[in-house]
């Protein structure tokens, strides 16, 4: 069995009547890092909350490692760890007590050695006797992660783990997520930071207005949807683009010093060779040339805006 989580026809309509999830079908593979991308209000947290048992689904089913999340919620939930989007904490509890609490709550026998390892991994060991209210926001987020890991879950949900986190902690967290993945944990994260998905994920899902509009291997996604940009640095500035170049989507910038050509990297004929020939014919010399792959961010924006055109 290669899928660890199977979501079938899952829908959610809140009491307000808002359809937060149109039927969602998604399978998460064992051991992968799956990034769920989507704008504010897309339904990411709703989806995660249903899987974790915090929100009741309107219809559909979710099976986690062979256990239905409703019929067999005990076994399903023991497999799942959740780091929620919002920071909440029991102000007066100590780090150690709150992590020990989480482990017990999930039905696991005490294991101080394991909890020590988790806290050390997250650089929280020195803070173990500190009250949560005395910790900084970043530290609190680490505590939330430690709580989620305290019962040794096989599936870990990270709902916007890098919100309000500085660069260093983000790097630490990415490293931790990779270590977890290497130890066999499946990770599903939501994020607004495209570079996070780009850097971390094996697969990417894009959700918008409750609809999963795309699920793809990251690499395939980048190359399939990726557009490239050719940049030509001219020897002498042009006042305007000459008539003879009308066949290409070009833009002149830097005071006429640079020409940008936007093209589909996967097209059989990218038009690059012809463009260069034409420039030669027109006697427009250039000093430098380079191409750039469009980032996930560009892909994402174009998808969510629903346009077929990748760039304005």
């Amino acid at each position: 069995m290669s899928d660890i989580l199977t979501i079938t026809d899952l829908t959610k309509t809140y009491a307000s009547g808002l359809k937060a999830l149109k039927p969602i079908n998604l399978a998460i593979r064992r051991g992968e890092i799956f990034a769920l991308l989507g704008p504010n209000g897309a339904g990411k947290t709703t989806l995660i909350s249903i899987i974790c048992g915090i929100v009741t689904p309107s219809a559909g089913s979710v099976v986690a490692d062979g256990h239905d999340i409703q019929a067999d919620y005990r076994n399903a939930r023991m497999k799942i760890g959740l780091v929620p989007q919002e920071l909440t904490s029991d102000r007066w509890e100590t780090v150690w007590n709150t992590v020990r609490f989480s482990r017990g709550l999930y039905g696991r026998a005490p294991n101080p050695a394991f909890l020590e390892r988790v806290l050390r991994d997250l650089s929280l060991w020195d803070k173990r006797n500190d009250q949560l209210q005395t910790l900084s926001g970043g530290m609190k987020r680490r505590v939330m992660i430690a709580k989620a890991l305290s019962h040794e879950p096989m599936i870990l949900f990270l709902d916007e783990p890098s919100a309000g986190v500085d660069v260093e902690l983000r790097r630490d967290m990415w490293a931790l997520v990779r270590r977890l993945r290497d130890s066999g944990v499946t990770i599903i994260l939501t994020t607004h930071y495209i570079e996070e998905a780009e850097e971390m994920a094996d697969r990417i899902g894009v959700i918008n207005k409750g609809e999963l509009i795309l699920v793809e291997e990251k690499k395939a996604l980048l190359s399939k949807l990726g557009r490239k940009q050719l940049t030509l640095h001219l020897q002498a500035p042009l006042a305007a683009l000459p008539e003879g170049l009308g066949a290409w989507r070009l833009a002149l910038r830097d005071g006429g010093q640079t020409i940008d050509y936007d093209f589909d990297a996967n097209a059989r004929d990218t038009g690059v060779a012809a463009l260069l020939r034409r420039l030669d014919e027109l006697g427009i010399p250039f000093t430098d040339i380079n191409t750039q792959q469009s980032s996930l961010e560009d892909i994402f924006v174009s998808l969510v805006q629903g346009g077929k055109e990748a760039r304005p």
């Binding site: 005990r74 076994n75 023991m78 929620p84 909440t88 904490s89 017990g104 039905g107």
Partner: protein, 258 residues
Amino acid sequence: MSAPRFNAHGVWAIYRFEVSRALRTIWQSLATPVITTALYFVVFGSAIGSRMGEVDGVSYGAFIVPGLIMLTLFTESIFNAAFGIYFPKFTGTIYEVLSAPVSSFEIVLAYVGAAATKSVVLGLVILATASLFVPIHIAHPLAMIAFLVLISATFCLFGFIIGICSNNFEQMQVVPMLVVTPLTFLGGAFYSISMLPPAWQTVAYFNPVVYLISGFRWTFFGQGDVPVVTSLVATLAFFFICLGVVAWIFRTGYRLKN
């Protein structure tokens, strides 16, 4: 590894968390009822009680002890249990309990169990305080403990319901202040129902609190306003009604889940 049928670790985690929360404020929690009890004794026990003579063959000071314990027990049980579940709802930490492999029965057991533990301790502390003012003889000590535990559990369940249904701190106070305290005062906390005019006695028997106080008083003095079996049945009925409401709340996910 497959999940156990009963998540004992989970229940213990919540129970322990709740008890340690109570222990953090143990002195405030105990000081208020102790001082209140002492004041009641100064006013009712000594100042008024000395002119009252005996009620049902018991000195007035001793007579009011069970009612006094109930008075504090009712409100404290309701408030503590209400707060215990309201607070995580308020701060958002409830997400963890909702996403954990604990059943609703286990959640109730842990939260209500912890609140009831505090109530029982509180009841015993008030009893100890009272014994400094009047000599107290308990006719049926085991029955006394049993009633104390049952009534604490019942009112904690009641409080748990209020905590779940409350959207702010004021709502949590309404029922204890506006309903329970008046019913307790009118329910024979400080007098025997037989001291009322016959018409009012009939009215009094519609007050459920009468049966609770009467039962608890029976464990002290061997007699109450109603037969002890009636009290026991009434207390159990109240207990199971609360239990039923809690079960309904969880089955429908009312106010805990979206």
